[in-house]
Symmetry: C2
DNA sequence: TTATAAAAAAGGTGCGTACCAATTTAAGAA
DNA sequence: TTCTTAAATTGGTACGCACCTTTTTTATAA
């Protein structure tokens, strides 16, 4: 699985060193030229690794001064790392005490693609999609209603029972591609009748909404999804860095 | 202002071409080697420009195949572009019909740094901070309550009236650095008494919450901020791409 | 015509060089 | 000692090369 890429290997190594408190005194990494020497790789590769860490918010690079460790990244690593490896917006990647949630399939149909979604999913509105609704819960507590649309031509073999398990894992098996990109809009809404019933909410208790598109690695729009979450399960962490 | 960096210039040029529909037929950019020639720059610079576009979600790069345009980026450009140039999470960057919101200062004090914030702001809990609360509105409609904490040693000169204007612009002037990085947690909450009063909400109507830290370009934690938004103003767009 | 294999195309990785720009440090002068 | 200036440090930009991996296209064979 590990593709043995130098810059990724070094990125991980540095990240581990950082989290292990290797550079705690100075909160600063060695300079790029030194790193290049000690790792025995080119400065270009070091720069590439550091760029990844900077994009994560693990370090800040300052010209003329050095590469500094973000104390919050170290301290709060659990929170900060939530994003890495699990948080693609959300959807499939819930976990609690290492245990995945149960999934109940509320409905499952094949229908013509709703007009508003056709362009987003890059298909014609005469094409068919799977339309399904799922309910997720931990033990007795339901926390999310998910409405999803998937073009049938992307997953011609999709069966009903697959939808009671992890969709993303299934896709990775079948398509041999990961789902690593998403475009999401996050919002807030008072709870609807359905929300209150399914998620066991009072009328004063709201839901968080996530809606958007998930892409395969090659950019194929794979699913349009609308998620409504119990407000107390809604917790989205994000590190934003404006380049331009 | 424009720093005349080749890779950024090319990034913009390509982005404009894309939005202008230059590549509409194929939805595909020329290959890197060709771009290198036509722009008269090295392939490395082209790669760098394309990487920026890929990180934005404007294009998808597929080895062996080419660089493809994300149709959603073109179509929905307003939404997609919301993030670029204005959306650092949110805070200062609101606008509506090109018009900035009014800001009312609800409170303004200097106090010792709350213990939970000290480490996040990278200061001691014996250090002092400005603590303030602001209310933002468009015309008659208030839409956000913001509670902010800023270490006094970062902005020793901060005056009360500055807080009724754009804080970020002020910082850029004084510190000669932008505020281009933030680490935020997004959540949902039923409205509190104060929310309902200030934001004119019913008890069934919730707020969206944004809380986290804003950094200066060099990584200095500059402000801890908690924002509570009217649910109908809460709209956060994000493109997520998992690298590793 | 169809299946298979070779070639070409296209993006990815890694190394290296040269020089630039901001910051910090050290040296020298007042 | 303190201020000013020059040098060293450190990350940033740009170019180029060589080679790899995946995908697509083309040519060849069945």
């Amino acid at each position: 699985m590990e593709k043995n890429l130098i810059y990724k290997k070094i990125m991980h190594e540095l990240q581990n060193q950082i989290l292990d408190g290797e550079y705690q005194e100075t909160m600063k990494l060695p300079d790029e030229r030194t790193l290049s020497q000690t790792f025995g790789v080119s400065r270009s590769s070091i720069k590439r690794a550091l760029k990844l860490l900077a994009d994560k918010g693990a370090v800040f690079q300052k010209r003329g001064s050095g590469t500094f460790i973000n104390p919050i990244f170290v301290k709060n690593d659990s929170v900060f790392h939530y994003k890495n490896g699990s948080n693609l917006g959300i959807s499939d990647s819930f976990q609690m005490n290492g245990q995945s949630p149960q999934i109940k399939l509320l409905s499952f149909n094949v229908e013509r693609c709703p007009k508003e979604l056709a362009t987003d999913l890059f298909i014609k509105d005469t094409d068919f999609v799977y339309a399904f609704k799922r309910l997720r819960s931990f033990d007795d507590q339901s926390f999310m209603i998910e409405t999803g649309y998937i073009p049938i031509k992307i997953l011609p073999q999709l069966e009903e029972k697959t939808l009671t398990e992890s969709l993303f894992k299934y896709v990775e098996q079948v398509k041999k591609q990961g789902v690593t990109k998403s475009y999401l809009t996050i919002g807030v809404s008072p709870s609807t009748e359905e929300d209150r019933t399914e998620l066991n909410l009072l009328s004063t208790e709201p839901v968080g909404t996530l809606s958007g598109i998930f892409f395969l690695d090659d950019g194929t729009p794979f699913e349009y999804s609308q998620m409504r979450l119990r407000y107390d399960y809604m917790n989205y962490h994000t590190f934003v860095s404006l380049e331009d």
